[in-house]
């Protein structure tokens, strides 16, 4: 029983991290209609940079690197998506290409070995329970970020305009809202959250050049599990995916355990719940 509760804590921490990947996906999707498959790249770049630079400067360096990547990729998407001949296939290919390039650049710059940022490796142990420090840190960071995002979206003028862009870009543009700027901002802000995810992973486990794909897929899974609507659902989705991962590794044979979250994501996809008509909105 205590083992089960320990697993739950672990899932809480991981779930918080996946949520930090799912929220950017959600925000970017709402404002641009694009599923940014490069989100894992931002997290990986941030984590690797932070691990290389070391605390405390690494936090800033990592975040900066991640956001810079997000900005570049976002700019690329907006540039391509605005051309009349752009179609879904092209945007998907571009995203996959960024994933590919991100992985190989990561390998070139940071090498093949996983890197980690020591610091949050130990845990509280009240009685039989194990509550890793990173779980609390991750939960705290995600809670703060989620509240900040929700507050921004629902309590500020900027957030109001952002939501206008999300619900109808054409109309928002006609109202004088600078749609491009908000879409770009969505990418960069998302980059910040993804960077936080990468850094948290670097602090608790490790990040390697090939983490990008897995992180993107897990973030995407967290996004679609409970429906794409809004950052709060993304968080819940993150917890769900993390729970599946932790419980699988804990209770299932090693041969299939690590694949289970992906199996789950595939099943969710196949059920047709993620039923978007992906469009390349300008």
């Amino acid at each position: 029983m205590t083992q089960f509760i320990n697993f739950l804590f672990l899932a809480l921490g991981l779930g918080a991290v996946y949520a930090l990947l799912a929220i950017p996906l959600s925000v970017v999707f709402s404002t641009t209609g694009v599923i940014d498959v490069a989100v894992g790249v931002y997290a990986t770049v941030a984590g690797l940079t932070a691990a290389s630079v070391g605390l405390p400067l690494g936090l800033v360096a990592g975040a900066g690197a991640g956001m810079a990547c997000a900005g570049v990729v976002g700019g690329l998407y907006l540039l391509i998506g605005s051309r009349p001949k752009a179609d879904v296939i092209l945007l998907i290919l571009v995203g996959l290409l960024v994933l590919l390039i991100g992985t190989s650049v990561g390998q070139a710059v940071f090498g093949v070995d996983p890197r980690s940022l020591g610091g949050l490796r130990s845990a509280f142990t009240p009685g039989q329970l194990i509550i890793p420090h990173f779980v609390l840190a991750a939960a705290a960071v995600t809670a703060v970020m989620l509240l900040a995002v929700l507050a921004l979206l629902h309590k500020t003028r900027i957030g109001e305009e952002m939501r206008a862009v999300a619900s109808n870009p054409q109309a928002a543009g006609l109202c004088g809202i600078n749609v491009r700027r908000y879409q770009f901002a969505a990418f960069v802000a998302g980059g910040l959250l993804a960077s936080a995810a990468g850094i948290l992973l670097g602090v608790s486990r490790s990040v390697a050049y090939n983490s990008s794909l897995v992180l993107t897929l897990l973030g995407f899974g967290a996004l679609i599990v409970l429906g794409i609507r809004g950052p709060a659902r993304a968080v819940a989705g993150g917890l769900a995916i993390a729970l599946i991962e932790v419980l699988s590794v804990g209770y299932l044979p090693a041969g299939i355990a690590t694949a289970m979250p992906l199996v789950f994501i595939l099943v969710v996809l196949a059920s047709g719940r993620f039923d978007i008509h992906a469009s390349s909105r300008p």
Partner: protein
């Protein structure tokens, strides 16, 4: 002439095959030819799924891996003949792709693409984790050669012969009522249904065929490289296959082959992976924005005409004096 015209693409491949057979190739050249051939076969399988069925599959290399591992395990662990491995490779890869198709074929393009990528990653994990069966990330070595084929030199002839056969089959499919049904599905699935076409079943069958061909490519790979690991046919290759098909011409038979030649040669010539990937990205962007149908499918005569019209001033412009004469 009208009988030959549809076979234009296989004819090109046949000519290439003849040259590859009679010309004396160095070891590196034979090796490159083998790589291009295997990639061409995988690209053709994607061409079928994507070009004919509209299925944007990021799992073709994964299906190749299924075939490759099937035969590798059969011929090493169980010491069966590579020809038994051939049947296993094709059947297993076809079965897996059929099952995946039944799950995802109704999804929107983005969801479908992501599903194939999720599947590809799943497979990589399963291969890595089940060390007893697959040798984990170290892989399987000592895969036997195909009797009679032997070294790389003959293997590359074999693979191009297979490419030729597949391209002929592709032409037959494209020009048949089956091909027309697939085109109808691609153009308007609702119309297809109203004509009694079971869209899900057709696309699943097509994807199974495509998966089987990818499995065949995996079989060739395993028995010519004699070594197989999760790095042999990774997701990265699946993504490059997508680029090959899109750049070459997704609905054509020759397009995927041309794309395979182009990208494989570039990979060989360009130093460093970052440069390769960056250049690939640039090529894909340019082609998709300027020639969205792909290299083989673009009407080049029209393009040249259009360009010529922009460059040369017309005859009337040349004869008219540019300055107005004032009185």
């Amino acid at each position: 002439m009208t009988y030959i015209r549809p076979y234009a693409a296989p004819l090109v491949v046949a000519v290439a095959l003849v040259f590859l057979t009679i010309l004396p190739l160095s070891a590196t050249q034979a090796d490159t030819s083998l790589t291009i051939g295997t990639n061409a076969l995988l690209a053709l399988s994607l061409g079928l799924a994507f070009g004919q069925g509209g299925i944007f599959s990021g799992a073709q290399a994964a299906f190749g891996a299924v075939g490759g591992y099937a035969t590798a395990i059969a011929t090493t662990t169980w010491s069966l003949s590579p020809f038994v491995g051939l049947v296993l490779a094709i059947v297993l890869a076809a079965a897996v792709s059929w099952a995946l198709a039944r799950l995802i074929v109704r999804l929107s393009p983005l969801a479908l693409a992501l599903a194939t990528i999720v599947f590809s990653q799943m497979l990589t994990i399963l291969i890595n984790q089940n060390v007893g069966l697959t040798g984990g990330y170290i892989g399987i070595a000592g895969i036997p050669r195909i009797p009679g084929i032997g070294a790389t030199y003959r293997a590359q002839i074999l693979v191009w012969a297979i490419v030729l056969l597949v391209s002929i089959g592709y032409v037959h499919l494209r020009d048949s009522i089956q091909g027309q049904a697939l085109r109808t599905i691609r153009h308007d699935a609702t119309l297809a249904q109203s004509l009694g076409i079971n869209v899900t079943a057709r696309l699943s069958a097509l994807f199974a065929l495509s998966g089987g061909i990818a499995g065949l490519a995996g079989w060739v790979y395993a028995h010519s490289r004699l070594f197989l690991s999760p790095q042999s046919l990774p997701l990265g290759l699946s993504i490059i296959l997508l680029m090959m098909v899109v750049v070459g011409g997704r609905t054509t038979v020759l397009g995927p082959v041309v794309g395979a030649v182009l990208f494989t040669l570039l990979q060989d010539w360009l130093p460093g992976q970052q440069l390769q990937n960056a250049l690939f990205g640039l090529i894909v962007l340019i082609v998709m924005l300027a020639f969205p149908a792909g290299i083989v499918a673009t009407d080049w005569r029209a393009v040249v005409r259009q360009a010529a019209r922009h460059r040369r001033p017309s005859a009337t412009e040349l004869n008219t004096p540019t300055a107005k004469v004032t009185t």
